[in-house]
Amino acid sequence: MKFSYFPGCTDHSTSVEYGQSTLAIFKTLGVELVEIEDWNCCGAAATHSINHLLALCLPARNISKAQSAQAGPLVVPCAGCFNMLKRTQYALKNDEAKRKEVEEIVGFTYQPSFEILALMDVIVNRIGLEKVREKVKRPLTRLKPACYYGCALVRHPKVTQLDDPENPQYLDRLMKALGAQPVEWSYKIDCCGADLALTYSNVVKKLVGRIVSMAKEGGAQCIVTSCGLCQANLEMRQEIGLPIFYFTELMGVAFAVEKRETWWKKHMISPKGLLESLGLA
């Protein structure tokens, strides 16, 4: 089994531990990831906020490169990048005039059968939880995470086509497969405030504060995410010291992959104490 892989810009910066843990667990799972050659930025929310056409063409260049690599469906770890690529795919599929315009600008022909998938979706539904269970060496027994999906993975559902938009379950099922006990809580799809962190951090502090305190009230010892921006906001804008993991990091702990301690050094709130207290360090 192999997939085309879009790491995204934050792979080299704010979410370097997400990329490292992704590569490590795929090695354990024996699934190949083929990085798209010379990929470019997806454009992010900033681009679709001010230039609609550019926000379709930037992801389209990546789709074009992934299509011609013929290395399987395109896998995207970052929820934000995933959303941008899916928005473009949605326009290419449903708006003929836009498709022609984008194809002409980028210089490619869109293949309607080409798939774009979120990393979480690939692990849960393509590789499968059976395979995940097989690879667990140290079950995360006694770990109670709050699974946080945020916005970009599940909304707009007509675009992302991933899980239930109000009460998604993929991440919860994955955590259970690792032996953990995900908590029930009401804020799994609430927005963290995204890039308002740079312009109005007080708003983000308020939104994050509510998400984190609700997770704690639900009995969670940590929050699990799949988005670089959510992870950074949740870690840096809270005041109660709740560790924030990428889901791939917890898979790495359960699979007992090597060098996982290097990931914790990248965290603003070190999860080492929590892992030690559960015998998972």
């Binding site: 080299h12 001010i50 708006d95 707009h156």
Partner: protein, 188 residues
């Protein structure tokens, strides 16, 4: 005998009757379907900070209040979380509408009421234009220079830098010419 004249007490707002059709065409959303259930506003994370709430944005478009809508803080405070569009019983994608309204405001030369949010978007897009990928360090410096807001959020920035999460060296794409061409063709 001199006839007494009655003068208007308030100056009427300029109404643009074509605004509804224009907003419909630009967003591709049927804004006439809105029956003001307020689900969009109830779920919006930034609505409490907006001068006009999402449901009012739609109502004001229906009334042709173009200047008020395009000059609002609401269109800039929307973070595209898509909670509104997901929950709208009439399937109006309000997030997509907000994108269209921002584009219209830029084209009409209406200054963004939330200037810094617009400047941040511009700095981000410029960063992609330079190298095909975002380089956080230069993008943040560019934003600080544009906004002249040098003091806000220095500590989180320093924390990220100390964790090695803001690399000094950029990672550019090889196909810079392709990126340049795409930007040229998408120029407004």
């Amino acid at each position: 005998m001199e006839v007494e004249k009655l003068e208007p007490v308030v100056q009427a707002e300029k109404i643009a009757p074509s605004f509804l059709e224009e907003a419909k065409r630009r967003s591709g959303e049927d804004l006439s379907l809105c029956y003001q259930c307020l689900k969009c506003t109830a779920g919006c994370p930034t609505a409490p900070y907006m001068d006009i709430r999402p449901n009012n944005v739609i109502r004001m478009i229906q009334m042709g209040r173009k200047e008020a809508v395009l000059g609002s803080s609401a269109i800039w405070l929307c973070v595209s979380c898509e909670t509104c569009g997901t929950r709208c019983p009439n399937e109006i994608d309000i997030g997509v509408l907000m994108d269209a309204l921002r584009e219209m405001a830029i084209e009409e030369g209406i200054p963004a009421k939330e200037k810094n949010i617009h400047l941040l978007h511009e700095a981000f897009v410029e960063s992609i234009k330079r190298g095909g990928r975002v380089h956080e360090a230069t993008m943040l410096i560019d934003y600080k220079l544009r906004s002249r807001d040098f003091m806000t959020d220095l500590i989180p920035g320093m924390m990220l830098f100390l964790k090695g999460k803001i690399p000094l060296l950029p990672s550019f794409v090889k196909g810079r010419e392709e990126i340049k061409r795409i930007f040229e063709r998408c120029k407004k």
